[in-house]
Symmetry: C2
Subunit: 408 residues, 2 copies
């Protein structure tokens, strides 16, 4: 019997009526002859409401207690979904992250999954029960409850699917698949039937917020096929799997963007990798993800180091880098909070050398200045001012329209 | 350094502002030189709102899932209180029942505490931290989350105090102590400064809803002094401890009552303890508490068995007893859902033989029929029609007014 792991996000379980609808959908998968395990997020805006409560109680909620608080959200949704399933004649059992356990690192708010215990779930599946697992949460080795960050339920689902050796991991959400770019910005954006892990990784990493980046990394690492589809409508959605080299790939899979970038520049430090390491290491220790990094060697032998972080981390990153730069010769440290990233993604890019030229041409015609550039085999990304982001997305989608998303 | 366990109920932590007030009070206990561990219930009506959600999702929420759902309520309040304490410079750590662990039996919704793990709490106290423990919830040996029934947070607090060998367990609530009877029924009811465990047990057991019955049993068993006081006003409240036989006890501690009784009568079964056991055993198996039991032997050698249960359990109890009676010769089985209990409680009753006569006289003058009677060394309880309950409470408070609550 095939085994499918399904994940439903907060908007899909935002009310009792929606929970009953999700239960009916899970029951129909069971009835069609598949085994199914379910991962759910907290109901609708309940995580935001819990954060509001914390902020009403104190100025700076402690991270351990914030994770304890937030983890209650999924505990509510898993229990309600398990009840609703039982009510449809589909016996189910809910589990918190602590119960399975979903073992994580100890970094509150951004923990990483280390392992998923599946003994209870395997025995439930054998007994014909549907296990319903709380996403987003886990437990550290010291027994403290952790959360794995916003969007982390996707990662929980993939980790569970991998641990169970499931046939497919389905992310059921409020969109019906992965698009060539955000349809809110480009109305004629199209749904992609298939794409590769690498393409999805670039699209997700660049800010197409359909799937959480770490969940795609995880799926790629273990070759777990991922399907993104609508939680409330029928349809095959988008299947993300390993690329088939026999198939002629399209040039471009989509246009990705992320409006939440912020930049930090350190000017005039001594050249050498040891300096770059000294500047970036404090960020790694604080679990702040550094995105684009540009090194620029001056003729005087000094180095300018520029990089971007999520805007949320900008203030702390600037503080840490300023402190690190104070320990070395350095002309200045500056921050730019309002940047955005824009990228053309596709496995075809590696063999079509004119993509970069077309990208710069399309942006230049719109008068959009490119602040930083980063290229990979399947992506060309640029940093622009946030105010010009949407204009840039539309320009690139128009430029590559004929080449986009023509995969089978 | 003295160690106090404080328990705050749902109304005391019903909003962020109230949680901050509780935090300030806990911090002041710490500042006064006592160690303190805190037990809290879920915020305000959050348990009711969770039950409403469950009922909106399905017709009959499964008991395992209901406990999983309800336990999320205290997880929210402990995290918020720990944050608020830290914000006041009083570092704190929250714990769910599963984390300590609070080990319970596996009867969902009515589990009994078997043990409380205090290793984490002892180490927190030694490190100057305030442990904040979720009341009402625990974990069964199979790892499933359980709840110990409404009002169970009192029991959690006493069990924790006993496990920690605390000096006192304080139940901070929305009343400022234990009264001679319910002031809503008898406006001139008075607060008692002290009473014995036995008296409190009868008062609580008979329905004075200040303290949960099991918490008092637990406190008496381990001789843990219990103090009931207001969570929002100063005052010593009521201290419940072992009676001091050197002190001349007052005749009557108070008038207790419980409006939620229901009766079941089995008429014409064969005499003998084996029959009574056969009738009551199914109730014990279903964890339904049987309160008053009256056996009445007829001259024809058959037996009438009458007893009362909580009204909530009446329907199920009647079903179980009817099934048990069907297996033996039996004239009839009947139920009366609308009964109430009324009792005079006091350690002085054992040496004052006219209390019963005065009780029956006072009720007779009001035209109140007594349906069943039960006596103990410190209590005389009667069952009456629910409609006549409040009239009876006022009559008995008036009758014993001069003898009530005159303890130091």
């Amino acid at each position: 019997m095939p085994l499918i792991v399904q994940k439903y996000g907060g908007t899909s379980v935002g009310s009792p009526a929606l929970i009953r609808r999700v239960a009916a959908r899970v029951a129909s998968v069971r009835a069609s002859g598949s085994n199914v395990a379910v991962v759910v997020s907290a109901m609708g805006d309940s995580t935001d409401r819990l954060v509001d409560l914390a902020n009403a109680v104190c100025a700076r909620p402690g991270p351990r207690e914030l994770d304890m608080l937030l983890a209650s959200g999924e505990q509510v949704s898993v229990a309600l979904l398990a009840m609703a399933l039982a009510d449809l004649g589909c016996p189910a059992r809910s589990y918190t992250g602590q119960q399975l356990p979903v073992r994580t690192t100890s970094v509150y708010g951004r923990a990483r999954i280390e392992s998923v215990g599946v003994a209870a779930i395997v025995s439930d599946l054998a007994a014909g029960l549907v296990p319903v697992v709380a996403g987003f949460q886990g437990v550290a080795a010291d027994g403290n409850i952790t959360t794995i960050g916003r969007g982390g339920s996707d990662t929980t689902a993939v980790a569970l699917a991998v641990a169970l050796r499931a046939d497919e991991c389905q992310i059921l959400t409020d969109v019906d698949g992965v698009y060539t770019t955000d349809p809110r910005v480009v109305p004629n954006a199209r749904r992609l039937a298939r794409l590769t892990f690498d393409e999805m990784l670039e699209l997700a990493g660049q800010g197409s917020r359909v799937l959480h980046l770490r969940s795609v990394e995880f799926a790629r690492k273990y070759q777990m096929p991922l399907r993104v589809a609508s939680s409330h409508a029928a349809g095959a959605g988008t299947l993300i799997s390993e690329g088939d080299s026999a198939v002629e790939a399209p040039i471009v899979a989509g246009i990705a963007f992320n409006p939440d970038e912020a930049g930090i520049s350190v000017v005039g430090v001594p050249a050498g990798a040891v300096v770059t390491h000294a500047l970036l290491e404090p960020l790694a220790a604080a679990e702040i993800e550094v995105d684009m990094i540009v090194l620029n060697a001056s003729r005087d032998g000094t180095l300018d180091v520029s990089f971007t972080v999520h805007r949320r981390d900008h203030e702390e990153a600037l503080r840490l880098v300023t402190a690190a730069a104070a320990k070395m010769p350095c002309t200045s440290v500056g921050g730019e909070p309002n940047l955005a990233k824009l990228a053309v993604v596709g496995v075809g890019i590696r063999s079509h050398t004119n993509v970069a030229a077309r990208l710069f041409g399309a942006l230049a015609r719109e008068g959009i200045a490119v602040r930083m550039v980063s290229t990979s085999e399947i992506k060309i990304a640029v940093i622009v001012d946030e105010a010009q982001l949407e204009q840039g997305v539309r320009a690139l989608h128009r430029e590559f329209e004929a080449d986009i998303g023509k995969n089978p």
